[in-house]
Structure formats: C-alpha cells, structure tokens
Symmetry: C2
Subunit: 240 residues, 2 copies
DNA sequence: TAAAAACCCTGACAAGTATCATGGTTTTGA
DNA sequence: TCAAAACCATGATACTTGTCAGGGTTTTTA
C-alpha cells in the first residue's frame, strides 16, 4: 500500500506539512491561527464528490493527503480530467474568486483528508493579507503556465509524446525510487490517463504495451515502472 | 481599411479608452496619474517584436490599438500562436510577475500603438494598490478559464469544430455588422489560424472552402463573412 | 467468497488529418 | 511598377488515431 491516509486526521495549520508549497505558505502566524480555527477537516472516501460542476462555490478545499481528480463533463457525456490534486493543492479557487459556480467537478480518487475553508473567510484573507494575495497571484501564474504548456502540447504533439509527458509528470509528483527504477505510485486507470491527454483508452493501452515491449517502461498489472526517465524523455523527442 | 492606427498616438491614461476593461480599470486617480507619468507610448510597425521568448521581462506592454500575436517556438521550429492581443490587452505579465524570462514572443501583426510600463513600477503598483492586485487576480482567473477551455477544446473536438469556435471568437472580438452579415475585421493568414488550433494551413483552407460552398460562411479573397453566427455555432455542435 | 462490475488487452477496420506536390493569386518591397 | 515573396487552393496519398467487437483479468461489493 501507499501512504496511510485512510483514517481521519486532524491537526493545526501551523504544523501542517502540506502547507509548505501551498498558497498558505507565507501566511503570518496570526492569520494562520485564524485559518486554523476557521477550517474544517474531513475524511472523504473514494468516489465522493467535493463539488459539482456548475454548483455554487461555497469555499475552497485544501488537500491534506490523498488523491483528487478535477474533471469537466462535455455535452456529449464524455469526461475530461483537467487536473490531479494531491497533498498541498487547493481546489475550487476559481469559483470562489469569481463568486460564481464551480467550472468543474472534483472527485476523490482515493480516501483523502481534505480541509474546507469558507469562501467569505478566504476572500477576507486575500483582502487583509498582502502576502496571501501575493502567494495567490504567484500560484495562479504557475497554474496558467502549466495550462498553457498543456494546451501547447495538445496543439503540437502526437499521442505518444503526450503520454510520455504525462508519465514523466507522474514520475515527478508520484514517483518512488525502487531498485533503480521509478515506480509511479498513483492509482489511475488507462481510461483516466486517456482523458487527460485527449485520446482513447485503447490507444493508451497500445502505446504502453509497445513501450513495455521495447523496454522503455515496465508494466506489472496496472502498475507502471520507469527504468530511466532520461531515456523515456528522449523517446518523446525523436520519434523514429 | 480598418481603424486608423498607423500614426503615432499619445495621451493620458486617465482618458485612455482601452483602459476600461484592462487591469487598470479600477485604479485610483492618484495611481493613474503615476502610471501616466511612468508609461511610454510607442508606435510599432508590422512585424516588429515587442519581446522575445526566453529574454528577460523588463516590463509589461498595454495595447492601445492594433494587433499583436503571442507565439511560442517549439524545438522543431514550428510556431504556435497562443493568443491574439488587441486594444486594452496587457502583454508580458507572466514574465514580470515571476521576475523571469518571457515564456513567449510577442509580434506586432499590424501597426500598433502600445504603452510600455516598467516592471518595477508595475510590481510596486500591485503591492501598493489592493484594487490593482484584485484586478490582476481577476484578470489571471479569466485568462486561466480561457486557457482551460481552449485546452479542453483541443482535447475533445475535431478540427472543424475548433475552427468554428475560432471564427466565432473572432466575430465577438473583431466582428463588424455589414449588410446583415458579420465581417471579421482581422488580418490573419490561414496558416496563423491553423497554428492557433493545432492543425495545418491546408486543412483550414479545405474546411473554410467547404463551409463557403455550403453557405455557412462567405469568403471574399482572404476576408471572411459570417451570415449567421447561430447557424455557424449549430454546425459545430452536430457534425453530420 | 462468489457474482458483478470495472478494467485491460488485442485485432480489424474506418475516418480524419497530415504530408507532399503543383499551380494560381495576392501582397510586399525595391 | 514589376519582380519576388508570401499566401491561397486543390489533388493524391499515407499515416495516425478512433471505433467497434470480443475475450481475459482484476477489483469491488453484496
């Protein structure tokens, strides 16, 4: 099993390990104490929905541990996963900032402890604390950069290249070194991977199998291992 | 000809018509006067480069009138247009905010009057003025939403659907009603359109011709007219 | 623990697009 | 104003990827 997060946790924001690279990293002690009193922590089970697309944004969620997927339902019923969120990530920002409905649905992939912060409190915090406002701006810029890179990738790259990029990003966020290989410690289906890079499950499966055969990755059931990230990256550059 | 912007303009930010829906809309008179003293307006000629990808961000540019394209050069030499900027749009935000290099190149498509605002002044303004910080946050959120929609479109839609979406967005920004039709008052090549939606010039030309034949749009040389935006939108929904 | 559901895998085939090639037209710039 | 460059247009062809179908495997749940 992966990290042990299937039991309920409580704890102060002041010592929260997920805070370090979140938008609350720079907060003053005073504001942190307020945040601590205001937030509510809950254990969500696999499959539970944090918020639904087009529903009013009541607050933001901050992931303590676990896995959440953010997805959009297009008219024709297909779901597109726009983002995976894990420890330290904040969800529901957009809806809260614009005081409108959530633009997407957030669904828990694995049992997760997640804090809820009321929208009023959050907006006040941004107004009151220049550090918080600044952190927020920096975070938004970072997410924009990611989004833009993703959009450009979709524009210019083949499915195989996109899949490799996805695997590499998985390695960075969920990678665990094990006997010289990187093990991607993330429970995700081929269909979910497909919906992240705009292709079909069949195509993902085919490309993974092919890369397995050629030794660039190794599959063991649904588990994926990457012997060499460099070699994998190279494969995405020059398509022979 | 389109609007007359090929001669040099100067003027105060206080009465600038492009300010209304820019990030400077909410600025106090005091800060506006400072901005006015600090900014420098220049006339840029077609083809000139405002800033180059990977060069240090010295400040932001605010388009007074004209057309600018923002593009990225991928390794293989292809250029992807990520955005078109026009009156009121601000360019170079990301590089300035992160105090790093510009993530893209900005190139003038048509003679344009553009203001330059030094990065130090801009960052100070954000620090000093909560309204400015708030405007900035709102603008970033808006741009993120656009980016995300674009990425999702690339994920799920066919080239024809993407092209129609592009034309519809052109209608909204550059559309001029003329004898019952909407004329897209924007000088852009088929190749540029292709690079915005991740396809080739040939495919764009083919689809435009086909839609011309079926009467959904009308081409006159490189000019494009849309008789009915509703009908065009419908065409993108149900592909027969 | 057994049945049901979800998921993985492979093959055959079709559709959508990219690529290459060629010629006509418009725009640019000396 | 005229040549050069950039751009538009169309055809033929090949390739990438999606779709559909069938069967095996793993996971979930009652």
């Amino acid at each position: 099993m992966t990290s042990d997060c299937s039991h309920r946790k409580q704890g102060s924001c002041l010592v929260c390990p997920s805070r370090d690279d979140s938008i609350f990293a720079e907060l003053s002690t005073k504001h942190l104490e307020e945040l601590d009193k205001s937030k509510v922590t809950n254990l969500y089970r696999k499959g539970q929905v944090l918020f639904q697309q087009d529903s009013p944004a009541l607050g933001v969620f901050c992931v303590l541990d676990g896995q959440v997927k953010v997805l959009k339902n297009s008219e024709d019923g297909k779901e597109t996963i726009t983002r995976l969120a894990t420890s330290g990530d904040v969800l529901g920002l957009r809806g809260v900032l614009t005081e409108s409905n959530h633009p997407a649905t957030a669904k828990v992939m694995q049992d997760s402890n997640i804090c809820f912060i009321d929208r009023r409190f959050f907006k006040d915090l941004i107004q009151k604390s220049p550090e918080a406002a600044n952190s927020l701006i920096m975070r938004l810029v970072k997410e924009m950069t990611k989004l833009e890179e993703h959009a450009e990738e979709m524009n210019t790259k083949t499915v195989k290249q996109r899949l490799i990029q996805l695997l590499l990003s998985f390695c960075q966020t969920y990678g665990m070194r094990k006997a010289g290989e990187v093990f991607i410690d993330l429970k995700i289906t081929r269909a979910e991977m497909a919906s992240m890079i705009g292709t079909t499950p069949e195509t993902v499966i085919r490309i993974l199998s092919e890369m397995d055969s050629s030794g660039i990755i190794r599959q063991d059931g649904k588990k994926i291992f990457v012997p060499s990230m460099d070699q994998l990256a190279e494969e995405s550059g020059v398509q022979i």
